[in-house]
């Protein structure tokens, strides 16, 4: 029971952050692909830096054990990502932002969106056996994480990612300033 209360609480905080970041808006999502508004990228990278630092720190202190990470099967991860990006640019949402947008009362999220996800889920579940084993067998590395796979220090890997993110934020903001000057 208490685990459901936690899930509900975390879900509300998750949806709240999506709303405040503007991800429940079609133009916010599509404009990151047009390089006219990089908020989605900044939001995702910030979440990653914060959560990976916190989790690897907590694990270092022996306070958490990690659940199994999502499996790496190179072809499937990339092909899935490619199809996913197509759907994202078409609809302007992803499964999580569609749920949050529905709560805001946007009917174009609530009806065609949620319905589409249920139809997609049914089609996937019914064709899983014909499709998934084929794709996931190619270059399957299992439930690995980068530090273990390449024998790197977790601390340095997180640090590297954080520095790269900050550098990217800097570049994005600089490019944005330059564009403003041109106009």
């Amino acid at each position: 029971m208490s685990t459901y209360v936690i899930a509900l609480f975390l879900g509300v905080a998750f949806g709240f952050s999506l709303n405040k970041a503007g991800l429940t808006k079609y133009h916010k999502i599509v404009n990151v692909f047009r390089f006219t508004d990089m908020a989605v990228l900044k939001f995702m990278m910030t979440a990653l830096v914060v959560s990976m630092s916190g989790l690897y720190l907590l694990r270092g202190l022996g306070l958490v054990t990690f659940p199994a990470p999502p499996a790496t099967y190179i072809a499937g991860n990339i092909i899935g990502g490619l199809i996913f990006g197509f759907g994202m640019a078409l609809s302007g949402y992803c499964p999580g932002t569609c749920a949050a947008g529905s709560g805001e009362g946007k009917l174009d999220y609530l009806i065609p969106g949620l319905l589409g996800f249920f139809v997609g889920a049914a089609i996937y579940g019914l064709t899983y056996q014909q499709v998934f084993p084929l794709i996931s067998n190619i270059a399957n590395e299992g439930n690995v994480v980068i530090p273990d796979l390449w024998n790197l220090s977790p601390l340095l890997t997180v640090l590297f990612f954080a520095v790269m993110s900050f550098f990217l934020f800097y570049l994005i903001d600089r490019a944005g300033l330059q564009r403003k000057k041109e106009i």
Binding site: Y4, A7, L10, A13, S17, A47, S91, K106, L126
Partner: protein, 181 residues
């Protein structure tokens, strides 16, 4: 205190502040529930539940029996929370759209590109959602379940997925927007 409240009531936060909140939520999910955030899997759990009630023989396969067993899972409760979280966020800034005009085609940029017709928006959104859910199945998760949750554990799958997502997203947006890209 006043400043904090007025910041909460803003319609849009800095992506760094909102991203930090999501990062903390991701940490708490692992710490408190030993679970990963996600959304696409919950749709599978729910459709399995409905499918096995309506057409038991059709949905009696390996996937719905073992890979994604139907039921009200942790992820389904999280999805319900997402719905109310979006509602709460919009309520604090007074931008709730329930019963308001324009809620059926909610984005001005969309309308300026594709026109005001609701059926167009709904058709592309519906097709897009089917594609998204199917792609999430193949990839092993969606933006939250794979990109964020996998990325924060430093799983290579997350970064492969993000690379694919941006590559095709950019191409698709270019094809849709053309001159206005």
């Amino acid at each position: 205190m006043k400043q904090i409240i007025s910041y909460i009531r803003r319609e849009e936060w800095s992506p760094y502040v909102a991203g930090t909140l999501l990062g903390v939520v991701g940490i708490l999910a692992v710490w408190m529930s030993n679970s990963l955030l996600g959304a696409s899997g919950a749709f599978e759990n729910l459709v399995g539940l409905a499918g096995q009630a309506i057409a038991p023989s059709l949905f009696d396969n390996m996937y719905f029996n073992y890979v994604m067993p139907p039921g009200i899972t942790w992820g389904v409760v999280l999805l319900v929370g997402l719905f109310f979280g979006g509602m709460l966020g919009a309520a604090t800034s007074g931008t709730l759209k329930w019963g308001k005009k324009g809620s059926a085609n909610s984005d001005d940029q969309w309308k300026s590109i594709f026109g005001p017709q609701i059926w167009k928006r709904w058709l592309l959104a519906f097709v897009g959602a089917i594609i998204l859910e199917y792609a999430a199945g193949i990839a092993g998760g969606c933006t939250s379940g794979l990109a964020i949750s996998g990325g924060m554990l430093l799983a290579p799958s997350a970064f492969l997925f993000i690379a694919g997502m941006f590559a095709s997203g950019i191409v698709t947006a270019y094809l849709i927007y053309r001159k206005r890209y």
